[in-house]
């Protein structure tokens, strides 16, 4: 199997702080690989190293066989990077933006013109191509932001949390775009902290936490890591601290965590464990106001691996 992206022992330190610690993962040609993890996990730092923005402290990575350290220009030429924030010139039109970014990838003349036309068609902005990007809605800007990375038909597209802070409709549009790009044969490296997106899009998922890759595999492979465990989300009529320590000691509870007024527990058998949780709550004079039992998912995996919820 040929790898479009190979990451080998990649490290990045900022002084004493180790943002990325010995990261190893691979993305085969034509697949979608998601880097899943909470904010601050090191996803963006990893992406920044792969796209040439940051120099690794040690280790290396190859994009389409080109080392990011030894052949950075070749590696970059194979990449299309979609930044997390909109990175466009607001006082230039959509077309002018695409023409400029196309030139930066070495496109010229009729090839550039036809690629700009094609991309404008793909992102659905042909009729607004002469308007300044600054006048566009957030969703339209996102589409131009993605389009600028596709002009040179890259082998690998890196998308750094492209759905942060946008409406559900635009989010759906972007997710569909990712699938379409992948169907065209592009390898997509997608970072997100939304486990639903990773589950929907990815062939492989690398879960990151505190600068480390803590799990890597397909969605099903990762789910199997938690075995038959079930996730239970509970809300209370009072603060979680009152009951958390009692529930941690309850038989059948393997992991428990609280965040944003919600308690998430990983249990062996919800039918057996739930009555015990209610008993303990009753003794502590705490009333449970809602219960949500979920089949194992990536959130469960993350909780299983770290003892914390992904949203923390």
């Amino acid at each position: 199997m040929s790898f479009a992206v190979e990451v080998n022992h990649l490290k990045k330190s900022f002084g004493d702080f180790q943002a990325v610690q010995d990261a190893n993962f691979f993305a085969a040609s034509g697949e979608v690989l998601s880097l899943l993890g909470p904010n601050g996990a090191g996803k963006s730092t990893t992406i920044s190293m792969l796209s040439g923005l940051l120099a690794p402290t040690s280790g290396d990575a190859c994009i389409m066989g080109h080392s990011i350290i030894k052949e950075p220009e070749h590696a970059k030429a194979s990449l299309g990077v979609v930044p997390q924030d909109i990175a466009l010139y607001p006082d230039l039109s959509a077309r002018e933006n695409l023409v400029f970014w196309g030139k930066m990838y070495g496109l010229r003349g009729t090839v550039l013109k036809s690629r700009v036309d094609e991309v404008l068609e793909v992102i659905g902005l042909s009729d607004r191509q002469k308007d300044h990007v600054g006048k566009f809605s957030g969703g339209m800007k996102r589409r131009v932001n993605i389009g600028a990375a596709l002009l040179h038909k890259p082998d690998v597209v890196i998308m750094d949390e492209p759905t942060v802070g946008i409406d559900p409709q635009s989010r759906r549009h972007i997710l569909n775009n990712v699938k379409e790009l992948n169907q065209l044969g592009m390898t997509v490296l997608y970072t997100t902290h939304y486990m639903e997106e990773a589950a929907e899009l990815s062939h492989h998922i690398a879960i990151m936490d505190k600068g480390r890759i803590i799990a890597y595999g397909t969605h099903d492979e990762l789910i199997k890591m938690v075995g038959e465990q079930t996730r239970i989300d509970l809300t209370l009529n009072t603060e979680a601290e009152k009951i958390l320590s009692a529930w941690q000691k309850t038989e059948g509870v393997s992991k428990i965590d609280s965040a944003d007024g919600k308690i998430t527990a990983l249990v062996d058998d919800s039918n057996r464990v739930l009555p015990r949780l209610f008993d303990a709550a009753s003794k502590a004079n705490v009333r449970i106001t809602s219960v949500d039992i979920q089949e194992p998912n990536l959130e469960t995996v993350f909780l299983h691996l770290t003892g914390r919820a992904l949203r923390d």
Binding site: L53, V81, P83, M104, G106
Partner: protein, 426 residues
């Protein structure tokens, strides 16, 4: 090629910014325009002081047995009707004070000059009470002073003539020679002619004056109108100030791109960082050149400014561009973000401009010697010096010194700034 693409993109953005255009071109033209209109520009092809309208009443008569050929009143009158002043003084004769006052009330004239009856006789006899009456429109400021000075100079000249005559007589008698009274009118006439020429030349040809403080170099191109020279220096001062502002403001695009995220995105493309920085420097350089050319052409056609010989202008403009780009790169290298940029550009460049003498360029000797010395440590001061030399018609060779200083200053500032940028974005 990518360097040009980046420079072109930056130029496009700059010239689409109303603020940038305002600061680059409109502000310096407007400030110079204020000076232009203050001097009555807009009514003629070339700017000049508004014409002074003088009404003249000459009641003087030549006393009997006077050694003079004509009464002094005629001499004073001749000054206002002389062809050498007709471009800025319009004089009209009136028969008496009443008619002159009536014309003044109707604003047909701005100033009335009345030489009283027997003025010559009383003046030559040493009468201290005799005086020429000058009545003026109270709303006028410059004109009455000019007229008063002209009359005073003429009367002083006559007094000087009297003193000269007495001296000749004394010295002749001391040497045992009795002066011939028949020669007195000849001497007085000769002195009067010389004095009239002297006054005329003093105004129109300062190089013929008795004391010439600065001897103009050979080949000096004289501006047709002194107001044009004032405007030229004003425009040069404004152009230099805003050129440096433009240099720094254009360079600030690198900080803006850093904040917009486009700089980081540029670094993810297969474009090396040297090309990216060079493209941005190039756009600053081109912007300052274009600004200078636009201002010079606009200044010439709008205000009639004569910048000087082409080779000298090219040298001064090149020096200005190099220095402005260099200082822009250096200043912005010290600035962390665009919010810091405003105060740094506003405060720093204004202070340097003041020290360089840009705001007093059109006022001779406005700066004390110590300040002139300090101006030599600012690039703005050297650019102003170069433009002053070009406008004074100094030779290409004379300009090489300020040009060399500007190139050295610009190169040094650019190198330090570029190194800091490379380190920051490494």
């Amino acid at each position: 090629m990518k360097i040009l693409d980046i420079a072109f993109k930056d130029l496009t953005r700059s010239f689409r910014s109303a603020f940038a255009i305002g600061m680059m071109v409109i502000a310096p033209l407007m400030l110079t325009g204020l000076i232009y209109f203050a001097f009555g520009g807009g009514s003629n092809d070339s700017p000049s002081m508004p014409a002074i309208k003088v009404g003249f009443v000459n009641l003087d008569v030549l006393p009997a047995e006077s050694p003079l050929d004509a009464p002094l009143g005629d001499n004073i009158r001749s000054m206002f009707f002389d062809e050498s002043v007709e471009s800025w003084i319009t004089a009209t004769d009136y028969v008496n004070e009443t008619s002159a006052r009536a014309a003044l009330d109707k604003q047909e004239i701005g100033i009335a000059v009345i030489v009283p009856q027997n003025f010559t006789e009383r003046y030559l006899s040493g009468n201290q009470d005799v005086q020429v009456l000058i009545i003026s429109d109270p709303t006028l400021s410059i004109g009455p002073d000019v007229v008063e000075n002209m009359v005073t100079m003429m009367v002083d000249g006559v007094a000087g003539g009297g003193i000269a005559l007495e001296t000749i007589m004394e010295r002749s008698q001391a040497n045992g020679i009795e002066p011939d009274p028949v020669q007195f009118p000849v001497w007085i006439q000769r002195f009067g002619d010389w004095y009239a020429d002297f006054q005329r030349n003093l105004f129109h040809h300062p190089d013929k004056a008795a004391f010439v403080v600065v001897a103009p170099s050979a080949g000096e191109t004289e501006t047709a109108n002194p107001i044009q020279k004032v405007l030229g220096l004003t425009m040069a001062g404004q152009m230099i100030f805003f050129a440096f502002f433009t240099g720094a403001y254009s360079m600030m695009s690198i900080l803006r791109e850093d904040e917009e995220g486009t700089l980081a995105r540029l670094f993810t493309t297969p474009t090396d960082r040297t090309s990216i920085l060079t493209g941005k420097f190039l756009s600053v350089f081109i912007t300052v050149i274009l600004q200078g050319l636009v201002l010079m052409v606009a200044g010439h056609y709008a205000f009639g400014i004569i910048w000087g010989e082409f080779s000298g202008v090219a040298l001064a403009l090149t020096g200005q561009v190099i220095a402005a780009t260099g200082l822009g790169v250096l200043l912005i290298a010290f600035v962390k973000n665009t919010r810091q940029g405003g105060p740094v550009l506003g405060g720093g460049l204004t202070a340097l401009g003041m020290l360089g003498g840009l705001f007093t360029a059109n006022i001779p000797n406005a700066m004390p010697a110590a300040m002139n010395m300090i101006a030599n440590f600012t690039p703005q001061g050297w650019v102003l010096k170069a433009w002053r030399m070009v406008m004074d018609g100094q030779s290409f060779g004379d300009l090489l010194l300020p040009f060399a200083v500007l190139v050295a200053m610009g190169a040094m500032m650019f190198t330090v700034g570029a190194m800091m940028f490379r380190r920051r974005f490494a």
